[in-house]
């Protein structure tokens, strides 16, 4: 393999990884507070892509309006998801919460199937993302370059909110100790809603870029990115936002590079992430940046 191809694959891996990272943030934030794998999180990504398509087609909005609209609408959908599927189960056994999440995921996918249909829709990629620029003898689509940049900008924006605002402080408190936070008079439902809003908006941003990268939008497109993003969150250390993005980068790079280096592995690509997950849980269950958990009896 020549070094240019390797470089190309590295860039592809970083681009894919940053998408995983964006989606992983939502998982990690919700898990941090509710200790729940929000199974339906990946499906929000699919909804964002559809909303962007319809906003462009029906409302004739340009991309710089349709994309933010899709992001905001998806954020609201995330809040709705929490209110409908998870809020009634705050004091229920954990297993019920997770079952509800799985139900919600199937519901979202099949609602899309019923109302939009299973035929993949082409995603109208704005021309400015189509440009190809030469770098170091490579021809690279600008979209591939924008993806990690957008991810990092959103990451720093989020970190600012989490570490420098009152809401962020309350979010961190809630993820440390749910009960005490409630006792301290913080409105937890509001904090949880904001968590879902932010996480879902990031997933939407990821979904739109995903749809531009692989411009076939169908009701089940969120399943695999969702699962892999969750694995990225575990890899980075669940509950840790920077870890989620880091885990995303590592997973994306790993997936691309393993196929690039050993082409025969291509058909096993979807299993790769799960193998990573199992290895992490076996040898370092707290992930790269996670803190050990003490179970007080």
């Amino acid at each position: 393999m020549t070094s240019t191809i390797l470089l190309q694959q590295l860039i592809n891996g970083i681009s894919l990884g940053s998408l995983y990272g964006l989606v992983a943030i939502g998982y990690t934030m919700v898990y941090g507070i509710l200790r729940l794998i929000n199974f339906a999180h990946g499906d929000l990504l699919m909804f964002a892509a559809y909303i962007a398509i319809y906003a462009a087609a029906l409302l004739a909005l340009p991309w710089y309006l349709s994309f933010p609209l899709a992001v905001i609408a998806t954020g609201l959908l995330g809040i709705l998801l929490d209110r409908a599927a998870y809020k009634p189960l705050r004091n229920a056994p954990r297993i019920s919460l997770l079952i509800s999440a799985i139900g919600a995921s199937f519901l979202l996918e099949n609602l899309a199937l019923v109302f939009i249909g299973g035929v993949p829709k082409a995603f109208p990629r704005p021309e400015i993302f189509d440009r190809v620029i030469p770098i170091l003898g490579l021809r690279i689509q600008v979209l591939t370059l924008y993806t990690p940049v957008v991810t990092l900008v959103l990451l720093f924006g989020l970190l600012y909110i989490v570490f420098h605002t009152k809401v962020g402080k309350a979010m961190r408190a809630a993820s440390k100790d749910f009960e005490t936070t409630r006792l301290m008079g913080i409105n937890l439902d509001r904090i949880i809603s904001i968590t879902f809003l932010l996480g879902s908006m990031l997933a939407a941003a990821g979904g739109i870029m995903w749809a531009m990268k692989y411009p076939q939008v169908n009701p089940f497109m969120g399943v695999f990115p969702g699962l892999k993003a969750f694995i990225a969150a575990v890899l980075g250390g669940i509950g840790n936002i920077v870890g989620a993005v880091l885990g995303g980068f590592l997973l994306g790079l790993g997936e691309i590079l393993i196929v690039a280096l050993v082409p025969e592995m291509a058909q096993y690509r979807d299993a790769f992430a799960f193998v990573i997950l199992i290895l992490v849980l076996l040898f370092r269950p707290t992930g790269i940046m996670g803190e050990p958990i003490i179970d007080k009896s």
């Binding site: 297993i95 079952i99 799985i102 519901l107 996918e109 199937l113 969750f230 799960f274 009896s297």
Partner: protein, 343 residues
């Protein structure tokens, strides 16, 4: 007459009644009815073994589709004649020894169960190192890995093409026979002190350990037994529909099983049986919503996905509003019916 003798007698009467019903259906029932009854029995076997892990041990296992897939492929590869296999495997030949062996149906079913058990044993170490949501996602991962392997290992599974033209060995006697044996054995296990230990782990693992219960041993036991019966059911399924492919054994199958045991009541074998029967019947009944409806003047086109929307809503409504499902953790037993103070 003491309770034990009475219960034995009642069990016998129940079995004879079931046998009579099956006989009547096998003689006079339509193909449609027989198919639903076969599905019912296989779903019962699957749901009852799935409930052993999710309901009795209280852990969310999301990979029973892997057990079913392994059972189905193993049994199918064993019952097919070498000739049929050659016809099936056109892209890549079937590897030895599968290409040469052939076994009777019963043996193939058992082999399917054993292979699923072996697989369960192999994955048990990573699976039971974690709990809760992590365990759920790891088992889901193994389910996916098996699906990927079914597609990729063309020399064993024939890849996405799957296996076609299996002999339709599964009839009402086989499917219900397996269901009855499964229900009886698993109920016995649950009512034994082994079952008590499993429920103790479900209620409070830390306390269970402090009372001398080894969680790994008991979770493993439940996992292996569940895998065995799921594998056998997979073999039955393969020889009922006579064509299998990887797309049959996705997470979707797990989702359906989850609906059955949640609706029936997590932790209740009776509930799992009821849930499976309702699902087999309801699943067929709901086919209407996905097929075109002729209302005389105009026709409503079928809506693909509608059934799953309904199923998902049912699952969520049950888990949110009637968490205990139909049965809660209760069991329907002769003692429950006849004794004032059941034991």
């Amino acid at each position: 007459m003491d309770r034990q003798k009475r219960n034995l007698l009642l069990n016998g009467v129940g079995l004879i009644l079931l046998g009579g019903v099956l006989f009547l259906f096998s003689r006079y029932g339509s193909d449609y009815h027989i198919r639903i009854l076969n599905n019912m029995a296989i779903f019962i076997t699957l749901a009852v073994s799935y409930n052993l892990i999710n309901g009795i041990c209280g852990i969310l296992h999301l990979g029973p589709n892997a057990f079913v897939a392994i059972g189905a492929y193993t049994a199918a590869l064993l019952t097919m004649s070498p000739m049929e296999k050659q016809l099936n495997f056109i892209i890549q030949p079937l590897i030895w020894p599968f290409s040469a062996v052939q076994a009777p149906f019963l043996l193939s079913l058992l082999a399917g169960g054993v292979m699923a058990t072996v697989f369960a044993f192999l994955i048990s170490f990573p699976v039971f190192r974690v709990r809760g949501d992590y365990l759920a996602i790891v088992t889901l991962g193994f389910g996916e890995v098996i699906r990927v392997l079914c597609n990729a290992l063309q020399g064993v599974t024939n890849g996405p093409l799957g296996l076609k033209g299996l002999s339709p060995f599964t009839n009402l006697w086989w499917s219900w026979g397996v269901a009855v044996v499964t229900v009886l054995l698993i109920t016995r296990l649950i009512n034994s002190s082994y079952g008590l230990a499993m429920k103790a782990i479900r209620d409070d693992e830390t306390a269970a350990r402090a009372m001398g219960v080894d969680p790994f041993r008991h979770l493993l036991l439940a996992f292996l037994i569940s895998a065995f019966f799921s594998g056998v059911a997979g073999g039955l399924l393969a020889h009922l529909i006579t064509t299998i492919s990887p797309s049959l054994f996705t997470f979707f199958l797990t989702f359906n099983l989850l609906i059955m045991i949640v609706v029936g009541g997590l932790g209740s074998t009776t509930g799992a049986v009821l849930g499976a029967m309702l699902f087999a019947w309801g699943g067929e009944a709901l086919r209407i919503v996905e097929s075109p409806m002729n209302l005389g003047l105009f026709t409503i086109p079928g809506i693909p996905g509608m059934r799953m929307v309904i199923f998902s809503v049912i699952l969520m409504v049950v888990i949110i509003f009637v968490r205990r499902g139909i049965m809660g953790q209760k069991e329907l037993s002769w003692g429950w019916i006849f004794d004032r103070n059941p034991r």
